[in-house]
């Protein structure tokens, strides 16, 4: 009997030994796995740093047309503080027509700008004097506005800090509130757990966690938010491993950068470095004690204690933290009392509380794709310098929003049914300065500026007229027949375009046919010059998609996005020199080393002379054609050029216009492609006007060459006449393509047909 018991005992002992051995092996493997995971994370790149995207740095110089209010707007956006007396970088003051700025140090892709006092004198809306540190200067730059980031999928954003950047008071408060045994435990704190257990039992629920800072860090780094015993066990093991490998300072620094501290739209605010900028507009070094208390208080519940969204909760929590600070003699009772009464002093508008420009960022991202992998953009902390002009962008956003609301109100349309998009670019450099992709400019979704392919209607016509002017047969006064026209298609269908007013205007000179956007005359002209030639012109202008040589393309019965249209018209606005539209100037590493630059590129695709003529024709569109509304809104000396466009059944309202320096394309329509009660002139043109009415534009002077000659022409006959003769107008011609006929003064008295037609 005894032997049987002994034998059983031995067998159980054997099993126990074997099981223990297996358990030990499993535990060792698990620990090895967790250890590798911990070390990999800590010794590799701990955080994916999103690329930061910057607007253009504002250049200030004498002679720059700039309203002081826009400079102030820019300063506010880049986080400058208006003060009565400028004393430190990041401040500015306004004194009558003078503005004094203490510029912060800024490193840009092409060098650095040191911290300096910039003094600007305005003469009405023009800078008349500029001084840097008291010395008269030709040019100075401000730091660029941070306009967004290219985030990883989890949208985490952070500003990395080092432990020595954090104020001692912050570290002590954080440890005091979250883990007062931090410097004594090995990753898990039995005392902390016991304390939490007691509090939870007393309160009858889960009100306090027993997690150490190390455990919290492990949870954020490696684990999910799941509440289970298994996860807690893994968390504890990993916390022990972290403590085994790394010292307390390393762990604390990682925690300061990792902790989640709220949300700004899609962007998750992580780390005290970014949180101090985001909530208080300050570098972490400069946080005050109550601000430290607010941020430390948020760790417990970033949403519940968010000082921007729930200030009452945040203030109560801040005061609890201040109480802990006082209890640990970090602050005096007097300070506790005084600071408990204080407002939160959260800033509403800082560089880091930024307005994002989703449509523009979308363009940036797409243009970077050819050179960078998505992972590099979302994790390497690259700095991307763009050409966005926040002043123009804001004006464009407001114009789109306001005009669409006005149209919906005036025509009693359903609210928010209309949509709009806009692209603004520099005519010469091809730099994109603003993009609106939705009437809600903060919407991260369908980007109509890039992706809404819509029928361009009459915006195609300049390409038809340009084709004619590139050839040998046509000049500005060549008569075109604006009469009914029918073209049979291959499938038996008949294409029979109508004019907007459902009338035919008979014989009209070429320039008038374009200025009045006559469909029948344009259709006839397009067929006469040859559809393949028209297609070639579109291609030369920068339309990349292959267009079918159908008759209807001459009236724009094909789809392009506003961005495509902007490229097409940039070539015209730059006198036939195509410059690929680009949004990026340069990319640097997070440390500022230049990785790539996107410089000026140009290619002449249209000869200067026909480009000159088409610019003149587009000026006529503004002067006396469908875009003459601009005459009432802008100084006539700007000599603006433009073209309205309305697609079939008024489904799309377009306008493109340019000055000597800016080009903008506007589209208005509905996503469901239903008709609208507005034309190009009634919708898109008004948005263009609203965008630029308060912004400085340079006048447009088309560039003639020695091959351009001017003649007085009798507009009724199209014959060369003389100045002072009745019914004559001066026209430019390409040398060798002038009218053959001549006429004298006496034979043609009275008003010309164009005067009768237009009443001028």
């Amino acid at each position: 009997m005894k032997k049987v018991v002994e034998s059983k005992f031995k067998r159980y002992l054997g099993w126990f030994f074997k099981l223990s051995l297996v358990g030990l092996v499993i535990f060792t493997v698990l620990m090895a796995y967790l250890d590798a995971k911990v070390r990999d994370k800590f010794e590799g790149k701990r955080w994916a740093l999103p690329a930061k995207v910057f607007a253009r740095p504002m250049e200030l110089y004498s002679g720059l047309a700039l309203k002081p209010k826009y400079l102030i707007q820019e300063l506010e956006q880049i986080g400058y503080q208006r003060v009565p007396n400028v004393q430190t970088p990041g401040q500015y003051m306004v004194d009558g027509n003078e503005i004094d700025i203490y510029r912060r140090y800024v490193r840009l892709y092409d060098g650095e700008e040191v911290a300096a006092r910039i003094h600007i004198r305005f003469d009405s809306a023009v800078i008349s004097g500029l001084w840097v540190d008291g010395v008269p200067t030709e040019i100075a730059r401000l730091e660029p506005l941070l306009i967004g980031g290219i985030y990883p999928k989890h949208n985490e954003d952070r500003l990395l800090i080092q432990l020595e950047d954090a104020p001692d008071l912050l570290l002590k408060t954080l440890v005091g509130v979250e883990d007062r045994d931090f410097y004594d435990h090995w990753g898990i704190s039995p005392k902390g757990i016991a304390r939490a257990l007691m509090v939870n039992v007393q309160k009858g629920g889960l009100v306090q966690g027993g997690s150490t800072l190390t455990q919290q860090l492990v949870k954020n780094f490696f684990l999910t938010r799941e509440r289970s015993l298994q996860r807690k066990a893994v968390e504890a093991l990993m916390a022990l491993l972290v403590e085994f490998h790394y010292d307390k300072d390393e762990i604390l620094e990682a925690y300061l950068n990792e902790v989640y501290l709220g949300q700004s739209g899609r962007r998750a605010i992580h780390g005290f470095g970014l949180a101090s900028q985001f909530y208080f507009g300050k570098h972490i070094k400069n946080l005050s004690a109550p601000e430290i208390a607010t941020l430390v208080g948020m760790v417990k519940g970033p949403s519940v204690y968010n000082p921007k969204r729930k200030p009452e909760n945040a203030m109560a929590r801040r005061n609890v933290v201040l109480g802990v600070m006082q209890g640990q003699s970090l602050i005096t009772p007097y300070e506790y009392k005084a600071w408990s009464m204080r407002e939160l002093d959260v800033v509403q508008y800082t560089q880091y509380q930024r307005i994002e420009y989703p449509a523009f960022l979308d363009l940036v991202r797409r243009q970077l794709r050819s050179d960078y992998q998505e992972q590099d953009l979302t994790s390497e902390g690259l700095r991307i310098y763009t050409s966005l002009d926040p002043i123009i962008q804001r004006s464009a956003e407001q114009a789109v929003k306001k005009r669409l609301e006005d149209i919906e109100r005036d025509f009693r349309l359903e609210k928010n049914g209309l949509q709009g998009a806009m692209v603004v670019a520099s005519t010469e450099s091809g730099e994109v300065e603003a993009v609106v992709g939705d009437r809600n400019p903060r919407y991260f979704g369908f980007n109509r500026a890039l992706d809404a392919k819509r029928s361009i209607g009459s915006l195609a016509k300049p390409a038809v007229y340009l084709t004619a002017l590139r050839g040998d047969q046509y000049n500005f006064v060549t008569p075109i027949d604006d009469a009914p026209i029918k073209v049979a298609g291959a499938n038996g269908q008949v294409w029979e375009p109508q004019n907007y007013d459902h009338k035919s205007h008979g014989i009209v000179p070429l320039y008038q046919a374009m200025a009045k956007s006559l469909n029948q005359a344009t259709a006839r002209l397009g067929l006469n010059v040859g559809l393949s030639n028209v297609v070639s012109t579109f291609s030369d202008l920068g339309v990349e998609r292959k267009l079918p040589a159908y008759p209807s393309i001459v009236l724009g019965a094909f789809e392009l996005s506003p961005f495509n249209v902007a490229q097409m018209y940039q070539t015209i606005a730059a006198s036939g020199f195509k410059t690929p539209l680009k949004a990026i100037r340069a990319v640097t590493t997070s440390k500022g080393d230049l990785l790539s630059r996107y410089g000026y590129e140009v290619k002449q695709t249209i000869k200067t002379e026909p480009a000159y003529l088409i610019q003149k024709a587009m000026q006529q569109v503004v002067k006396m054609g469908t875009a003459r509304f601009l005459n009432s809104q802008f100084d006539k000396n700007l000599n603006l050029a433009g073209k309205t466009g309305t697609s079939d059944s008024q489904r799309d309202s377009w306008f493109t216009g340019f000055s000597g320096d800016k080009l903008a394309v506007v589209w208005v329509g509905r996503d469901d492609n239903k008709t609208m009660p507005i034309t190009g002139a009634g919708g898109a043109l008004r948005i263009w006007a609203h965008t630029f009415k308060d912004l400085p534009l340079k006048p447009l002077f088309p560039l003639p060459t020695e091959n351009i000659v001017e003649h007085w022409v009798d507009v009724e006959t199209g014959a060369i006449s003389q100045e002072n003769c009745p019914g004559v107008m001066k026209f430019p011609f390409i040398n060798g393509k002038t009218p053959v006929q001549t006429t004298d003064c006496q034979s043609k008295p009275g008003k010309a047909w164009w005067s009768k037609l237009f009443g001028e």
């Binding site: 030709e138 450099s429 730099e431 140009v602 002449q604 000597g660």
Partner: protein, 141 residues
């Protein structure tokens, strides 16, 4: 002859990194083909004895030329592009840019930019001739 000598000095001092140079540029007949940069209104004003336009864009041109003389072609181009944003139709900017592209053996871009210079130069016949000579020099190489 004086101009050619000056030009030689400029090139030897400013373009000391052979990697950027089209090999042909160093031969003497190419110097003969080069435009006379010392025109008052155009050209690489490296010696400081030329007339820079007043104001911000003149200042940037001067800095561009300094960068060029230090063989910092990248910064030179950046200054020129900043100047271009201010004075979009200054032919001198495009001439310099063209020349930079040429030195970097981007002949096609050099040619197109020189054509742009020609299109914005206006009625200045001397300047036109200078740019035309630049275009011909680029085309020959």
């Amino acid at each position: 002859m004086k101009y050619i000598l000056l030009l030689s000095v400029v090139f030897l001092s400013a373009c000391s990194t052979p990697v950027y140079h089209p090999t042909a540029i160093l031969s003497s007949e190419v110097f003969d083909e080069l435009p006379n940069w010392y025109d008052d209104r155009l050209g690489l004003q490296l010696q400081g004895n030329n007339h820079y336009p007043s104001g911000a864009h003149g200042s940037l041109l001067q800095q561009a030329d300094q960068a060029f003389s230090q063989n910092n072609l990248q910064n030179c181009q950046i200054y020129l592009e900043r100047a271009q944003r201010i004075a979009t139709r200054d032919a001198g900017i495009y001439v310099r840019l063209s020349y930079l592209y040429w030195l970097q053996e981007k002949s096609s871009q050099a040619l197109q930019t020189a054509r742009r210079a020609l299109s914005v130069v206006g009625q200045d016949e001397l300047a036109k001739q200078e740019i035309q000579r630049l275009i011909e020099a680029i085309q020959k190489n």
